[in-house]
């Protein structure tokens, strides 16, 4: 990738191949399901615009606007965005050119590097323009809550509370007086962020100010859980839920953190052991492992080849075991 032109050409050719593949798949699906509901769904799709949806769109728009406002008005390397954007550029270049590992994940740095090559801007500026992906966070909250509650109002209120009041997590500030004073005197971002990381750990916390790797991670996790629920609990089972659930679990592993995938596999194994829908659970487990390997393959086996043998201590085995046990207990009680 020293010369961007061959990379851009390869990218465009792959896009053409991808569109041809999608069109062929669409044609074959239509031909196969001519008399089923799958083809009938083609005829007319109607969306009703409700008050809840308009309000949510306003919330999402303001959220994305605030993110752009924050990122565009400051220098990307000034430190106000924390060190993440600079580190993404550094670690992506280190890995692509020198095969050096740095973090536990390489998904977001590589993603930004590719976008930087295609867009033609330095990575910090490509990152600045990419803030529209912040819309994923409220949308994923809303959609996943609706899948559980089947009520748009509940989803809207939950999304609003989580985004603008940061859920109940801001109440944690009241536990520590020094943290509260630091927060009130203007050190809002790092106080909440560090404090939440200490207390809850990623991805238990969220960073709502601008796009980070955890934005993608949290959204993917929420979607994965929602589709798992859809696949295992709902009466009308859809194969797309199975694929999407495993795809998003694998993508969360690739983009940010493998904690969720570990817990996800533990949860599925518990379901398997207690005999809850064993056939579906097995297929989900199998597909998730395939997706993890697929995403690791996309990154040139970063996790298996580079990270895992050299930085085994980063896995924090003990912490993950405790987390897993707690999670299993929760699932069993539930």
């Amino acid at each position: 990738m020293y010369d961007p032109l061959p990379f851009i050409r390869a990218f465009l050719i792959s896009l053409v191949a991808f569109s041809i593949f999608i069109e062929i798949l669409r044609y074959s699906l239509r031909k196969r399901n001519k008399d089923t509901c799958l083809s009938n769904a083609y005829s007319k799709v109607t969306y009703k615009v409700t008050l809840e949806k308009i309000t949510l769109i306003l919330i999402v728009a303001s959220y994305v606007f605030l993110s752009y406002f924050r990122v565009l008005l400051i220098a990307p390397l000034s430190g106000l965005l924390r060190s993440d954007p600079a580190n993404y550029a550094l670690f992506a270049n280190k890995y692509v050119y020198y095969r050096a590992f740095s973090w536990i994940y390489i998904g977001v740095p590589i993603f930004l590097l590719v976008i930087s090559y295609i867009v033609g801007l330095p990575m910090h500026y490509a990152f600045a323009g990419l803030q529209f992906l912040q819309a994923l966070l409220p949308l994923s909250f809303y959609v996943s809550i609706i899948k559980f509650s089947k009520n748009e109002k509940v989803g809207l209120i939950a999304t609003f509370l989580i985004l603008f009041l940061n859920g109940l997590t801001s109440l944690l500030l009241l536990v520590n007086y020094d943290m509260l004073i630091s927060y009130l005197t203007g050190n809002q971002l790092s106080v909440l962020w560090d404090f939440l990381f200490k207390r809850t750990g990623s991805p238990g916390s969220m960073n709502p100010q601008h796009l980070t790797a955890s934005t993608l991670d949290i959204s993917l996790v929420l979607f994965s859980i929602a589709y798992t629920y859809d696949f295992l609990v709902e009466k009308e089972k859809q194969k797309s839920s199975l694929y999407l659930s495993s795809l998003f679990a694998g993508a969360a592993f690739f983009f940010h953190s493998f904690n969720f995938v570990l817990l996800f596999i533990c949860m599925l194994m518990v379901f398997f052991v207690i005999g809850y829908k064993r056939r579906q659970v097995t297929s989900l487990l199998f597909l998730t492992v395939i997706m993890i390997v697929f995403f690791d393959f996309l990154s040139g086996f970063y996790f298996i080849s580079y990270f895992l043998p050299l930085r085994i201590k980063y896995i924090k085995g003990v912490g993950n075991i405790i987390n897993s046990i707690l999670f299993i207990k929760f699932v069993v009680i539930f």
Binding site: L25, A41, V49, L73, I118, V119, G120, L130, V143
Partner: protein, 141 residues
């Protein structure tokens, strides 16, 4: 005495002005809320987004045309433009020329939007899902 009277009148006028300003602002806020509510009611009653078979084909035509144009734009302007460095991103973007702007938009569209649009809107698996779910899935893919 004269000066005090004038000052008092001025203060009174100012007070009236301030009060009227507050009233104006609050009234306009209330009016805005009513208008907004009325509009939403109307939209709720009458606005439906319908996507039929014919619209779908036309939609695909638009997607592919835009993609081809953007792809050509990227190939014509293929160099990574590592020239914009300033204190803030906004200042840097203000110096960007039109071809570069088109290239930037094309880049974001081809990398972040197009794959999702193809998967979610062209394949029949996602026909019956919520509109907002569709938007988020497009962004994911």
């Amino acid at each position: 005495m004269y000066i005090i009277t004038i000052t008092l009148i001025q203060l009174l006028l100012l007070n009236v002005l301030i009060v009227s300003l507050i009233f104006k602002i609050s009234f306009s806020f209330i009016a805005l809320i009513f208008i907004f509510y009325f509009l939403i009611e109307k939209i709720e009653k009458h606005c439906f987004i319908r996507i039929g078979m014919h619209d779908r084909t036309f939609f695909a035509f638009i997607i592919y045309t835009v993609s081809v144009v953007f792809g050509i734009a990227i190939l014509i302007y293929p160099f990574p433009v590592f020239v914009v460095f300033s204190d803030s991103v906004l200042k840097s973007f203000s110096t960007i020329s039109m071809p570069l702007l088109i290239r930037i938009i094309a880049g974001y569209y081809l990398t972040c939007i197009l794959p999702g649009v193809l998967v979610v809107l062209r394949l029949p698996y996602f026909n019956n899902v919520n509109l907002l779910e569709k938007i988020s899935l497009i962004l994911f893919f």
